[in-house]
């Protein structure tokens, strides 16, 4: 078995708000193995991005957020590092690709210098060396005439190009883990496919772990080996891709899968919608957090909070946070 590059144990992230501390992540545990591509899905507002930014401790701990639990990266707990040590981890060992490259790239510097900046910080490269290496990275991510593009500003590039630049920045220091936070959401479909192909190719080529955060189940199905489903700051189901798509155990996962539009089947049937919306953090329901929206919920679900447990009779490592699934009753 490959060793775990990232192991998150009981991660809790609380935000400081005017109404006091708000728990945005509540005891999240999962892992990413070396060279593995793990997907993380969920609706907007369920804590996917909070999770990715908590792993890198991007929220300011003085003013914004407080973390608890453990984030073991290569066995070292990132939450115990000081800011200086954390800076060495960010951008070198763990890097990140954001959703909207136009707003994530600094508008007043040429893209070449933004790649070179990371190389200067982490690899100690000087002017010309850093520029050459940066150009090499642009070539690696498939940007035509990289020499010219080095001097381009973000607003002069197309959406796909910008996303490639961001990937180049993320990969230039050969990280062991890449967190891709909805890397293709802002792109059109053909470019989406190209960017995902690029990420998968680099994942194999560089044997780099990837945590892919998305709400697009199709992307997960095509690229990932393992998936975790998040709901309201918790992981509600985790399994390898095939199991999750064939035998989802949690009603929320079922709902997500049923909401995918299909080309085959009865066209007159209306698209399935999970009723209601993700509640606010200040209004987290008692008991099972999904119960108010769950078609299978019974009285017990509203009282007792389920734990993330192996699904009885299921595949190995298939976990779900549902009373019904745990009882072996199933929810179908």
């Amino acid at each position: 078995m490959a060793k775990n590059i990232l192991e998150v144990q009981n991660l809790v992230t609380r935000f400081k708000t005017e109404q006091g501390l708000m728990k945005a992540l509540d005891g999240v545990s999962f892992h990413v193995e070396e060279g593995e591509l793990v997907g993380l899905v969920g609706e907007s507002g369920c804590g996917k991005s909070v999770m990715s930014q908590s792993i890198m401790r991007l929220y300011d701990e003085k003013t914004q957020a407080r973390y608890e639990g453990k984030v073991l990266f290569n066995g070292r707990d990132l939450l115990t590092l000081d800011e200086k040590e954390m800076q060495r981890v960010r951008g070198q060992e763990i890097t990140m690709v954001f959703q909207d490259a136009l707003s994530a790239l600094d508008p007043v510097f040429p893209v070449g210098s933004q790649i070179a900046e990371a190389l200067r910080i982490h690899q100690g490269l000087k002017g010309k060396e850093a520029r050459e290496q940066a150009e090499e990275m642009l070539r690696l991510v498939g940007i035509p005439s990289p020499g010219e593009r080095m001097r381009s500003y973000p607003h002069e590039l197309s959406g796909g190009m910008r996303q490639r630049v961001m990937i180049a920045i993320a990969l230039c220091c050969h990280p062991k883990l890449l967190i891709a936070d909805e890397p293709t959401t802002a792109l059109d479909v053909t470019i989406q496919a190209q960017i995902m192909e690029l990420i998968v190719r680099l994942n194999k080529q560089l044997n780099m772990g990837v945590l892919l955060i998305t709400h697009d189940l199709a992307v997960i199905a095509e690229t990932c080996t393992r998936v975790a489903v998040m709901y309201l700051g918790q992981i509600v189901e985790e399994a390898d891709v095939k199991t999750l798509f064939r035998r989802p155990a949690h009603p929320y996962t079922r709902g997500l899968l049923r909401s995918i539009p299909r080309l085959d089947g009865d066209k007159r049937e209306r698209l399935f919608v999970i009723g209601g919306t993700v509640p606010l953090l200040s209004q987290i329901p008692q008991g099972c957090r999904f119960a108010p929206r769950c078609p299978y919920a019974c009285e017990d679900c509203g009282r007792r909070e389920p734990e993330l447990l192996p699904v009885p009779g299921g595949e190995k490592d298939h976990l779900a946070r549902c009373h019904k699934a745990a009882d072996g009753q199933g929810v179908s």
Binding site: L58, G91, M96, F98, D106, V108, E117, A118, H155, E156
Partner: protein, 319 residues
Amino acid sequence: MKKYVLKRTLTLIPVLFVVSVAIFMLVHIAPGDPAAALLGDRASQAEIDALRERMGLNDPLPVQYVNWVGGVLRGDLGESVFMQGSMTQILAEHMGPTLALTGWAVLLATLFAVPLGILAAKNQGRLADHLVSVTSMVGISMPSFLLGLLLVLLFAVQLQWLPAWGYVSIREGGFLAHLRSLILPAIALGFIESGLMIRMTRSAMLEVLQSDYIRMCKAKGVSPSGIFLKHALRNSLISILTVVGQSFMVLLSGATVVETVFNIPGIGQLTVNSVLRRDYEVIQAVVLLVSVMNVLICLVLDLLYGLIDPRARAGGEGV
């Protein structure tokens, strides 16, 4: 960038045309005959006619305009009837002190306000932020003449470190005497302007600090000081420059009160005196001068924007 500079400079032509027409009409819109107004109630009709002839008021308006603009372009603004001298020279004499005062005031204000604004943004919601906020409120609320008088009371009357009034040019008394004569009025003016600058710098920095690219910088491993001084400052510079430029414009035409308090023979004083004696010609010349300077400051700001922000440049190149 060359294209951008050219385009920005060319846009000045229509602006200056409109400004010149408006200023030219100033004298003609004013009620009554300018010549009669200049000479006062007791002048005879013959004297008025003679002055009308000398001022060219008998020509049709377009001809008068062309003559006037022609003169302006040659640097000839005519003669002042009241002040007995070439208008160009009168203006030059008064512009020097005003420019020096404004320059010092804006410089002091910027050096004071921008670091404080950054400090406040960096410590948002904490003690330093509140202290800076109070400082800027005092700056915005206090009238400049009051601060000027208080400064005079302390530094000139009590401590006797600095002169209470007057202006010494660098040519007359050297740099030190020049600075000594202007430091109090420059502080009085600059502190008032710095209030606004602090607020603008703070809010511009805060806005930039919440942006995605700052988060990306952090994710890239850039140190907090690198994020602040390289990325955040450069991106907030446009807002900061704008407010500095605006201060310059406001002070150029609005230093009158402080000039009066400190008895500095600048444009403000000249304007007030000219208005009191209804000297339309001088008023016209002053308004023209100040307008042209404002237009030029705008041009400089635009060019600086282009230098700082590639997106501003792109707009000028029609990409």
